[in-house]
């Protein structure tokens, strides 16, 4: 069996874990196990590896942890015990759970799966739907027009499923009409600013 970290060497260390009665196994080659052990940090007595190594089984264990369920693991790693950790700032999952605060912007990559769970509980989903970086804010009219288009697209899919091509064609025309309206709204919003910048040089 190949090592689940490097995928090159033969695995010689097999780690079993038991989470609430669910057993799973991860296999590592000796050098991977050592390198993890050397850089690792202990997590409340349990031994857990960085996210990049064991995408599957360990993360499911951490899911259980963040849900607050009983975590009873029989993981064995040679050397020091390790934890899920942000490679940029060194924040561990344990610290995050203790403080409730993240260490840096990269923690969002390191603890993505755990964060999704947090977000599902405390936010309105786990995906950003607001203004994107460096983007000018859209007016509420533009936003609602965009949402109208999304809903029409869903209607088209349904209509096609029901072989109601006439309605689908109508929705398509409606989408085109709204798209033109959005462009007009955008142009009328942009114009005053453009005026300012073009006059800027001469004033």
């Amino acid at each position: 069996m190949k090592c689940s970290r490097c995928g090159v060497n033969e695995a010689s260390i097999f780690i079993k874990q038991n989470i609430n009665g669910k057993e799973s196994e991860v296999s590592l080659c000796e050098s991977c196990a050592k390198s993890i052990g050397a850089g690792g940090i202990s997590f409340g007595g349990a031994n857990i590896l960085p996210v990049s190594i064991w995408q599957g089984s360990i993360l499911s264990a951490l899911d259980q942890i963040s849900k607050g369920t009983n975590f009873n693991t029989g993981v064995f790693v040679p050397g020091k015990a390790v934890s899920l950790v942000c490679k940029d700032c060194g924040m561990t999952l344990a610290e995050f759970r203790e403080k409730g605060k993240l260490g840096c912007s990269k923690c969002y990559d390191a603890f993505g799966q755990q964060l999704d769970q947090v977000f599902r509980r405390i936010q309105s989903g786990e995906t950003h739907r607001g203004r994107r970086i460096a983007e000018e804010p859209e007016s509420i009219e533009i936003r609602s027009a965009q949402e109208e288009i999304q809903s029409l697209k869903r209607k088209i899919i349904k209509a096609v499923e029901n072989e109601d091509y006439e309605s689908a064609a109508k929705h398509k025309v409606e989408i085109e009409r709204i798209s033109i309206r959005i462009n007009e709204m955008r142009e009328s919003e942009v114009l005053p600013n453009d005026d300012k910048t073009s006059e800027g040089g001469s004033v």
């Binding site: 912007s105 969002y108 977000f119």
Partner: protein, 342 residues
Amino acid sequence: MKWYIDKGPESDVILSSRIRLARNLQGYPFPNRMTREASAKLGKEVLNSLKQRTDHSKGKFRTLEMSELGSEDKLALVERHLISEELTDPGLVRYAYISDDESVSVMINEEDHIRIQAMEAGLKLEEAYKAASDIAIHLEKTLQVGYSEKYGFTTACPSNTGTGMRASVIMHLPALTMTEKAGTVVEKIRKMGYSVRGYYGEHSSVQGSMFQISNQITLGLGEEELIVDLKKLISHIAEQERTARKQLSSKSPDLIEDRIFRAIGVLKYARKLSSEETLQLISEVRLGKALGIIDKPDEVNFNRIMSSIGPANIQKSEGRIMEPPERDKARALLVQREMEGV
């Protein structure tokens, strides 16, 4: 003119609107894991970018390095909602960048690297959002701002991730309080996923029937939607308050008049006033004005009193450190001046 002296739309019930946006820079740990050196470097970087802005609609800005201020000066800024208490912690190099009219302030190295806030009198969330997002967009274009395609703007606390936006409104709800309906209203607001706090923000209790209501969700909804939803809620509560006011004045006009004139009497003639008592009395006189029972003082006077009666602001205007009894005397004098002619 300072923004808080101004009178805004729906000011019979809504005192002020505020938008706060949180942003962080890539390549630096968040302030909770930052060294002092890194905080100084980041501070310079952010200030440099802010000073390059060409939009001067909010007037000039002043830069304050927190460690250079005396503790009273810092507290005075906290009382005027310009900075948070967290910004006064000496652990890191922290800055406040504040506009002339004090309607916009940028905190550097608070819980997040950058916290932009814009305030307006009355119900003006869109205007406040524009002022705050103008600065945010400038920073996003000139600095390496932390952003994830999936999660949006990254923040130290997951309760701010996404838009990084907290929109809040301070409402004056004396009639709902007097008729003991405020408790039920607050409970409902909380159940709908909004937070309710006192006039002085986080950790503060409700004084003078002033309630600060803000969104808790920052991820999964857009800024505009969040503002529209909050506005809907606020208008609904405002209508409830107006109805309760009408009922109060028609059911027990004598009781209400008595309370209002007693409050005026104390504000005009008391020789000592605590900030808590002043807020309570101002709340009652303000109600009297809204009900048309009295025509003076003007809302401008109320706003000026409220922005200057905090312990630190009293000491600042007197230019010295004072014990509480002395402050109460100074506060009573200040209020008397504002109540002249009432």
